[in-house]
């Protein structure tokens, strides 16, 4: 991946919890960050649960469905792909995702959602 000039620094690697989520504010919007050390990857998706109508996705359980990393909402258990935000229970629901990158223990993010 090429480092993009749009990227801004968000937090340190220490702020992330391995195999679990935390939340950050990016331009007033809540972004859920998930750190999967095994894949050496951080994923960023919308923290707002469109089913439960609350900002809670960073507090869900991380897992996989046939190798796609997912998070299950803590409210009503719908699962969302961490890669592209697609909901597995409802085809019509797809969350915003952000491009993030770990660089020297600092997490960088492109503040414009994809």
């Amino acid at each position: 991946m090429t480092t993009d000039t749009h990227l801004i620094s968000l937090c340190s690697k220490d702020d992330l919890v391995p195999n679990s989520g935390v939340c950050a504010l990016v331009n007033g919007r809540q972004v859920a960050l998930f750190y999967l050390p095994e894949d050496e990857q951080v994923y960023a998706i919308d923290n707002h649960d469109p089913f439960g109508q609350a900002n809670v996705l960073s507090r869900g359980i991380v897992g996989s469905i046939a190798d796609v990393p997912v998070v299950a909402s803590p409210l009503y258990k719908q699962r969302f792909s961490l890669v592209d935000g697609q909901c597995f229970e409802d085809e019509a629901v797809k969350l915003a995702t952000w491009q993030v990158e770990l660089k020297d223990d600092v997490l960088l993010i492109d503040p414009t959602p994809r």
């Binding site: 968000l10 702020d15 609350a54 359980i61 897992g63």
Partner: protein
């Protein structure tokens, strides 16, 4: 092609079976089918009717589904009764005046409950027990009354008695014959059954001939019997037998039996070749069959005949096994020994209330019949001996005598010994051969076998035998039974538990790498977390465990609909000092939390933001509170009544014991939540019999009840042991809880676990009281380890800066979640609705810290 015009009259259980069989035959499109259904709903499971009183709804009981019938292409006329058949012009007329032409008719009109024509039988609150509407009427009458009488001590009568008792009525059974269940049981069996039922608080009056029913003095009715005695009661339920509904057949001139019933031949055809009759309305060979299995067979014969296939109805086995008020009762074949030369063997244990009798032929080589009361475990085996003429062992009594001591294995009959033709499921006529066939055709688990053969989907009586057979057949084919937890682990919860213990596994990653695949999920992670906690009791917020937990466990609080949390400190036994009460009030006030007394005798503070939790708990812990584990699959509350200390009726200190056991088991992680209650006397103000573990004081110690449940499917706890001293009581509970923790499935409450436990209550007693598995000491030791390593999770959390980091709302900001908005209602906060948020209703300002 011209379709055959087919009319089905009656959409009961058998009518439904007919429609299902016709659809399955694949030939339904050769017929133009119209169904007349007198009741306001499609067919439902009458056999399970009583379950309606234990929480099942009409939907749960439904068999016929409108969408399914539509898909099969049937026209259904609900709430519409056929009032006449014109056989000459081949038309039927309904009560709404519709007239339809037919080529063939299937009559499946069932039967109605017989009500003896004694004067007063038609008074208000004199009811019967056959339809869902009847049950609604019974519930309504029971709500107004205190006592109820069932007239008729047969199978249905006793089921009705259970229903009345469950509705809280003082219950009586009045029977004309000298014993209960006269058809199926003999005098000795009837007596054992009567003793057991009376022990359960139902009064039985046999040899009573009701003369008339008049106004009562202290209750709604007064029943007067031929012997001069009287009985007063508020509700009367008639269950004195059934009568075939043959009125329609009679009026159109079909042949009917002398005592009722539409006469049919082996093809299920009536005296009119265009009209079949099936189910309880049909009279075959002078007999009415009051069970559903023979009706199902008739339905299949009728379908075969319509399609020109060769199949006949040749009678049915009337053996039955049931649980009446928790008492096992079974009757097989020639139970009364009417066969010439028949000989009996009997076994009677009055102490435990067990009676067993087998009837064998003159030479002692084959089993003709049997009666079992109080313990019907041998039913499956005996039935197979009787149905298949399997040669009896040298000493036939070995089949019913208890096996004690030594290595004498029960003389049961292994499923391997059954012949291919052995009938496994009588409801759906499924043989061992059919089941082997299904497995050979690719069924790889019990569910598959059930769905393709229908075995065990009727009365369920054959379920245990079927499970044994399927497992045996699969294993003999080298197939493993799939009970996998999820896509990441090819193991059951119980197997994972053993792996964790045996391999001394301490983290999810280790477990996943050694025994699983993928990344895990919201099913296996919390399961593993719970197992790890029950085994090693490590701090749940330790780094490796953090991501495994549901949010509630992660943040040690219950998430509410708006993403805020509730705070529930432990209030053991519901006992709380004024000072502590004041602290709760102060905390609630400082942080402006919504406050409510819970159903578990403690206090819940709602509306705490993630970042407020540590500060709130710091104050609570300082004041001596501990976490209440309201978030955990673990011990919740031990409710108590005030007991002997204050209450004028109390016989022991229920509060003291409640506090002691709550403190003993707090923190124990388990497959599902666990609740206790302790009552100080039999009035049971703590509702102990609805709990996983219920304890009630007696004059001589404590009675222990296990596996009760409130919630969605309430279950009364079973009385497990009586008059225990405290040490024994605690020992049994230690063993029970640990055995449950080790063997239950994920999210299985003790009630469901018990209902699935092979051998049921008796088996549990053997394991826990008699220590039949030799596990007792180990279970106690493991419990001791859990108790010894208990720590309050909140106390640890507020002392651990690493763990506290998790409670920051944002890693890069001190702001709070602006989506959480409260408004005031009844002087307290509540989450604002979406409309209120949109309308900017004045919100309550956030109080971050204690002021």
């Amino acid at each position: 092609m011209n379709k055959t015009k087919l009319i089905l009259i009656g959409n009961g259980m058998v009518g439904h079976q007919f429609l299902a069989s016709l659809a399955e035959s694949g030939a339904a499109d050769r017929f133009d089918v119209t169904v007349f259904c007198e009741e306001p709903r499609l067919a439902y499971d009458r056999v399970q009717l009583s379950a309606y009183f234990s929480g099942k709804t009409a939907e749960d009981l439904a068999m016929g589904q409108p969408a399914q019938y539509a898909e099969w292409g049937y026209n259904v006329r609900l709430n519409e009764k056929v009032v006449s058949i014109d056989r000459e012009n081949q038309t039927v007329t309904s009560d709404s005046g519709v007239e339809l032409a037919y080529d063939q008719i299937i009559m499946a009109t069932g039967s109605f409950p017989f009500v003896p024509p004694v004067p007063g039988h038609d008074r208000e609150h004199c009811l019967v027990y056959r339809t869902i509407e009847d049950l609604e009427a019974i519930t309504a009458s029971a709500a107004k009354g205190r006592s109820g009488v069932v007239v008729g001590g047969g199978l249905l009568g006793l089921e009705a008695a259970k229903a009345l008792r469950d509705l809280g009525l003082e219950t009586h059974v009045v029977e004309f014959a000298p014993r209960l269940m006269a058809v199926q049981l003999d005098d000795a069996g009837g007596k054992v059954l009567r003793d057991k039922i009376e022990d359960l608080g139902v009064r039985v009056h046999t040899g009573k001939n009701t003369q008339q029913i008049v106004d009562g003095e202290n209750a709604v009715h007064r029943m007067e019997f031929a012997d001069g005695e009287v009985l007063e009661t508020d509700v009367i339920l008639f269950s004195a037998g059934i009568r075939p509904r043959d009125e329609l057949a009679r009026s159109c001139g079909l042949e009917v039996g002398e005592r009722g019933g539409i006469v049919i031949d082996n093809d299920c055809l009536t005296s009119d070749k265009n009209i079949f009759a099936i189910g309880e309305c049909a009279l075959w060979n002078g007999r009415i069959f009051g069970l559903v299995a023979p009706g199902y067979n008739m339905a299949k014969v009728a379908v075969a005949k319509l399609l020109g296939e060769d199949k006949q109805f040749l009678g049915a086995d009337m053996s039955t096994k049931l649980k009446l008020m928790g008492v096992d009762v079974a009757s097989i074949g020639d139970a009364h020994g009417h066969t010439p030369g028949a000989r009996n063997y009997t076994y009677l244990d009055e102490a435990c209330g067990v009676y067993k009798k087998i009837v064998v032929n003159e030479s002692g080589s084959t089993l003709l019949g049997a009666i079992l009361v109080g313990d019907a475990e041998d039913y499956g085996t005996l039935l197979q001996y009787a149905l298949n003429g399997i040669e009896l062992p040298e000493f036939p009594d070995s089949l019913i005598l208890p096996q004690r001591g030594g290595d004498g294995k029960p003389a049961g009959l292994g499923v391997a010994a059954l012949p291919e033709a052995a009938q496994i499921c009588s409801c759906h006529d499924v043989s061992k051969g059919d089941i082997c066939q299904a497995i050979d055709n690719g069924a790889t688990n019990l569910g598959d076998v059930k769905s393709c053969t229908k075995a065990a989907t009727g009365c369920g009586g054959c379920a245990a035998l079927l499970t044994n057979l399927v497992n045996h057949e699969l294993e003999s084919r080298g197939v493993e039974v799939n009970r996998n937890l999820c896509e990441h682990f090819d193991y059951t919860r119980q197997e994972l538990y053993h792996l964790v213990r045996v391999d001394q596994i301490k983290s999810f990653d280790e477990l996943l790498h050694k025994h699983g695949q993928g990344k895990g999920c919201e099913i296996c992670k919390p399961t593993a977390a719970s197992i790890l906690a029950s085994c090693w009791n490590e701090f749940v917020l330790k780094k490796p465990h953090v991501g495994l937990q549901d949010t509630n466990d992660t943040f040690l609080a219950n998430m509410q609909k708006d993403g805020t949390y509730s705070v529930v400190p432990r209030v053991a036994g519901g006992e709380i000092t004024p000072d502590k009460l004041i602290v709760l009030g102060q905390v609630a006030k400082q942080f402006n939390l919504y406050t409510k007394v819970t159903g578990g005798q403690r206090i819940d503070l709602f509306g705490a933001r993630l970042e407020q939790l540590p500060e709130i708990w710091r104050i609570l812990v300082d004041a001596g509170f501990e976490t209440g584990h309201a978030y955990g699959k673990s011990l919740r509350t031990v409710k108590s009544c005030v007991g002997s200390t204050w209450c004028r009726y109390g016989v022991d200190d229920s509060v003291g014991l409640a506090i002691e056991v709550e403190n003993r088991y707090k923190g124990l992680r388990s497959p599902h939540k666990i609740k206790f209650a302790v009552s100080g006397c039999t009035r049971e103000c703590a509702e102990a019999q609805s709990k996983d573990v219920g304890i009630i004081a007696t004059e001589n110690g404590w009675n222990l009840y296990l596996c009760g449940n409130g919630g969605m499917k309430p279950r009364h706890a079973d009385l497990f042991a009586t008059d225990l001293d405290k040490a024994t009581l605690i020992k049994y509970i230690d063993r029970f809880l640990m055995f449950y923790v080790k063997t239950a499935d994920r999210l299985q409450r003790t009630s469901v676990w018990m209902d699935n436990l092979e051998g049921g209550l008796d088996y549990l007693r053997q394991v826990i009281i008699e220590d039949s598995l030799g596990l007792g000491a180990e279970l106690e030791e493991q419990m001791q380890q859990v108790i010894g390593t208990y720590e309050c999770e909140w106390k640890k959390t507020i002392e651990d800066p690493e763990a506290l980091k998790r409670f920051r709302p944002f890693v890069n900001s001190e702001e709070t979640d602006s989506n959480v908005v409260f408004v005031m209602e009844r002087d307290q906060i509540r989450p604002a609705t979406a409309e209120e948020k949109a309308a900017n209703t004045p919100a309550v300002p956030v109080k971050m810290m204690a002021s």
